[in-house]
Amino acid sequence: MNTSATTRIGLRTIALGYLLVLIGLPIGVILYRTFEPGLATFYASISTPAAISALNLSLLIVGIVVPINVVFGVFTAIALVRWRFPGRGVLQAVVDLPFAVSPVVVGVALIMLWGAGGWFGAIEGTGFRVIFGLPGMVIATIFVTLPFVVREVEPVLHEIGEDQEQAASTLGASRWQTFWRITLPAIRWGLTYGVVLTVARALGEFGAVIMVSSGFPGVSQTLTLLVHARYIDDHNTYGAYAAATLLMGIALLVLLLMTVLDRKRSDR
């Protein structure tokens, strides 16, 4: 679209104005309150043993959840877009449902399923603790982040169509080659944003995780739980801001990393 300068600047102003009011101001306030007392204070606040172990746990959960979501997410997206099978429509609709569930209820539902008295409660008897252990926190996080990769990749799969994949396989490329050489490069931006959103949401999730975490600092407290603990239990608002800033920093870092890698890849 050869937009006129007026239109372009108009749209730019609207977009940036909206972002400023909605995101820029709140985040500016958080950053100001975090860094106002100085970098040393900020560092001291995020380097307490509890904060470091919370950071470890958050990263560990992200490290488990992201690969799982990437593999199953891309696979699910391909299945939903490219294949037809009975029940596809139902699966399509199921993918989004995790978002519509209030995080409080996610915890309750997971306890009903995996808890000591739940449907799969027998697992507990084998000494493998799901709820109030790391597996429960991972499952809760996968639940709330499941739609991202699927939904980011899907529209791109539609958009790129299937002709190239078919041409490749006609010319004798194996399915794996076709996927690796044709499909994956084409969906990479969708996948990038899917991963970025997954990481961000996995870091920030609170409601579902608090319900299935034993909540011990240094053991089962994620960074987001630490933010809440500092704010609610300790009335340490500064500490909460500092830890929240750290969380945003990680999300930002992941986005930058993915973008840089994408760019390198497309420059080649």
């Binding site: 043993p49 994956l184 034993s214 603990a229």
Partner: protein, 344 residues
Amino acid sequence: MSPRLAIAAATLSAALGLSACAGGSSDVVDQPGATNAAAGVQTSTVNLYAYAVPKVAFDVLIPAFQKTPAGAGVQFQQSYGASGDQSRKVAAGAPADFVNFSVEPDVTRLVDAGLVDASWNANAHKGIPFGSVVTIVVRKGNPKGIKTWDDLLKPGVEVVTPNPFSSGSAKWNLLAPYAVKSGGGANKQAGLDYISKLVIEHVKIQPKSGREATEAFLQGSGDALLSYENEALFIEKKGDPVEHVTPSETFKIENPAAVLKGSPNVAKAKAFNDYLYTPEAQKLIAEAGFRPVDVAVAKEFAARFPVPAKLWTIDDLGGWKTVDSSLFKKDVGAIAVIYDKATK
């Protein structure tokens, strides 16, 4: 693509590795090693589940206990949260040894679940190691001149108190004026008339927890905040521009503590529970802003905790079971009905 993902994964793991060398412990207290995640591996680790407010007290009580002979070598893992949430978690199987809640029904839930012995409240203080009183927090200088419960009903006064159905702990706040106005439940209607007027005409926002009510008040909502005395002392100490007024007649807040039965650490948890009632611990509790139950210690801190002319208790109103079923029960409890009407 694959190298990209590989690099991303490698970076993540590197970040993990870099920070993984650090140990795990709370901002405030010592913790057992982070690897000891599974509860009860070390018999000397006590898992404490409590509501959030008394964390300030436990932060000093636990190190003090560890210095006593009974507490030597006992490690603590502490989990804090909303009283009801914590209680439901323990009922659902969270590995707790010692619990401390805001209201007795949260312990009763665990008794019903077979996790706490029915005799938990059989000691001299009925299982209540500390408490507080309901108080009114106002802005610095008390610009609206709020001193009594009646002052809250003056035109133009907006009162902030958490919704008692979102937060069980918030029931204390409403029980205070109810007990005062009804003469301890003798004249129910008078009490309900007051609550009705208060809730319908003076309560606008209904935060879901005490902490959020405090935050909303500190950020400018309302003219008065119904709160616990310990919370009021705490925010005053932090330097927020508020002060508190305890009406001459108010309500006694009793926060129960109990030990779970059948845990491998039950002896240590019991020792900790017993420790809470010692004069030494009671002093620490008083210093943290809570009213001690030990009579001698209470006398010592009389200046800090002025004794109101009349302090109503939950027993005056017939105990929690009666209060819950007559006042707070969904759809039929008198205060539940008032809340339902308030926003029609």
